[in-house]
Homo-oligomer: 388 residues x 2
């Protein structure tokens, strides 16, 4: 954890709103968020009460797009949830999972009541992010089957009840293929049926992110799920650092790419507002950056490969989940310290509208890059100009 | 131009510094810039005086890197210059260019006196950005030969005097190959010799950026220039929207990539802080985003393809040039309204240090993407999962 971090500060968004006035705030909003007016969504009193009584933040924003003559607007509501774990990591696994289920059910309920059509949870949402420990016992026991694991079973009923597509990022156990563990996002459609899943493409080896101790680079390519509500994809966590990962989801037709993550403040907080937003801009689609919240403390101490003493905590997961539209405008972040639900009403027509406006897809010269990358991979000579 | 823009506001960086106090400012700096302390460079009194008397901003920042046992630090100073045009666009071409030369010479002098080793000017620096007009006459006459055009001649003497590599982005006339016009960056080494040049890879068709009326997509690939001071490359303007363009410069070995640009506030100001910074993060190198300043008014009116009335100005070029290090930390921006010189003292060793830390190059699975991109270009089936 960055020693200078001030845990009492909820978000830089909130600092700005309370410190800047009038013209200066407008100008900050215009340049920082891409629009002077945040286009706040009115939420139901019942949702606000549910949030208050369960100690989570709820907020909503609108991204309207422009009216077309020959296509109707394709407005949907997407929701993203960030949350801390619910009880101590030294409790029995079943209890830990149950407690998370209990807490998250309230957030899902709020999303359902607000008419969210596609909801995404954070990475490995049903467990603590125990990969810092490098211990196999007991953490591997959190791994679940995609089709009928406890998380999938739990979420199916919500999907049906609220007519909602739910993306459930879990630790997967593939019982039928080598009993392997994977970092996987399960897509459950609005009928409660598993449409498919996607395995994390890029696995970190940085700081306490010892995930390659548990699972390998994903083998599912870059699937885009054509749901009732739109074409969605999932770029899991560390994949957000890789522009080519974002690109392939876009080429396969994604209109919304969710980025369920788990990342801590000393490592990545200054990168967080950049990467998923850049992906939205470069690929003319919506992106949703989701991070977990809170500090997770583990029973046995571990070292972090940084010369410091052994310790028991992973550092602070700083939340700050946000959504970016294809035109690069974005929502403020959820809190750095609280559970939260962020709802965005989006018009999927914006993807094509922005492609027409900016022309990035048209001008990207993919044929040239396919050749250049192939040459690089084959070890051909680099294009280096020596001094005379 | 964005009608809400407040021209009296110099930069959001300056708003923040004057509005936030103590702990909140520290926290903003930590999250927004990536470091609490800006590591300001002490500049010479003579440079500050030169800046004041010629009405330009000058600022400097340090990016120290960490000490290694087996490699010495590779500290260099890089400089970027932003400026407005100098006299009215209805004056004779020679006068316009002379006036820009005169103004820019002061900024180059300041860079030289501060020991800048590699200096980059803005896109098409020796002329107004007249491509909004779609007129060939008289603007094509600003096009110059790479080897001995007036800009190259002008800059050679400074390169020799200050022992400085200078990147000169110009409108090129290739007199020997079809008399074609290109958007080109010329690299002049510290002996005043032209090392080579690079032509803009991606040409915009957005808003008033009618550049494809004048020149085609570049045919020079992704050269990296191995100068006395380090390996540098140039991603010209609209290429910053293309992650693959940034990637190829990185794969060819670039340690610093300059992004000389010309872009206006109604169009891109909310994207400006994102794209070059994301490229620095994704590719573990330094990036320098450079934009021109001021509003350029042209003799004949033109339309902007946006249903609005014909007019004579291009909108406000918002400056805001900045530098990002491989670890994602960045400098504050230069002003939105004034000419400026931004100096950064950087340790090129940081590129490898950050590659070791974050592992993006190691984990990027280029072989998979080379295959995926080739398939996409060949028109193979997309990876789309249909609903059941």
């Amino acid at each position: 954890m960055d020693s200078t971090e001030k845990q009492n500060i909820k978000s830089i968004d909130k600092i700005i709103v309370t410190s800047l006035k009038n013209e200066e705030l407008q100008e900050f909003n215009r340049i920082f968020y891409g629009r002077v007016d945040q286009h706040t969504l009115a939420l139901k009193d019942s949702s606000l009460k549910l949030a208050a009584s369960n100690h989570f933040e709820i907020s909503g924003y609108d991204f309207p797009g422009h009216t077309e003559e020959t296509r109707s607007p394709r407005k949907i509501r997407i929701g993203i949830i960030q949350h801390s774990i619910a009880i101590s990591t030294n409790k029995p696994i079943k209890q830990q999972r149950e407690a998370i289920f209990m807490k998250v059910s309230k957030l899902i309920e709020a999303a359902g009541e607000e008419g969210v059509n596609v909801l995404c949870l954070q990475e490995a949402w049903s467990m603590p992010f125990a990969f810092c420990t490098r211990e196999k016992i007991p953490w591997c026991e959190f791994a679940e089957n995609v089709t009928d694991g406890l998380s999938t079973q739990f979420l199916k009923s919500f999907a049906i009840k609220y007519n909602m597509v739910i993306i459930s990022p879990i630790l997967e156990r593939d019982e039928f293929r080598g009993d392997l563990i994977w970092n996987t996002a399960v897509v459950i459609n609005e009928k409660g049926i598993v449409m498919g899943s996607h395995r994390k493409n890029h696995i970190p080896r940085v700081g306490d992110f010892n995930e390659s101790t548990y699972y390998f680079e994903g083998n599912t390519g870059h699937p885009v799920f054509e749901t009732k509500y739109g074409r969605i994809a999932i770029n899991i966590c560390y994949g957000r650092h890789h522009p080519l990962n974002w690109l392939m989801f876009g080429l396969n037709g994604a209109e919304v790419v969710f980025n369920p993550s788990a990342t801590v403040s000393g490592l990545s907080e200054h990168l967080w507002a950049i990467e998923a937003r850049n992906a939205a801009i470069a690929n003319s689609y919506f992106t949703c950056a989701i991070n977990r919240v809170g500090t997770e403390i583990f029973p046995n101490e571990f070292t972090s490969g940084d010369g410091k003493q052994a310790h028991n905590d992973f550092g602070h997961f700083y939340g700050s989940s946000y959504v970016t539209a294809p035109d690069g405008t974005r929502t403020p972040s959820l809190s750095r310290t609280m559970d939260g639900l962020l709802i965005s009403q989006i018009d999927l027509n914006m993807c094509r509208q922005i492609k027409d406006k900016w022309g990035f897809a048209m001008t990207q010269r993919l044929d040239m890059y396919a050749r250049s990358l192939s040459k690089y991979v084959e070890g051909k000579e680099l294009q280096l100009v020596k001094d005379k």
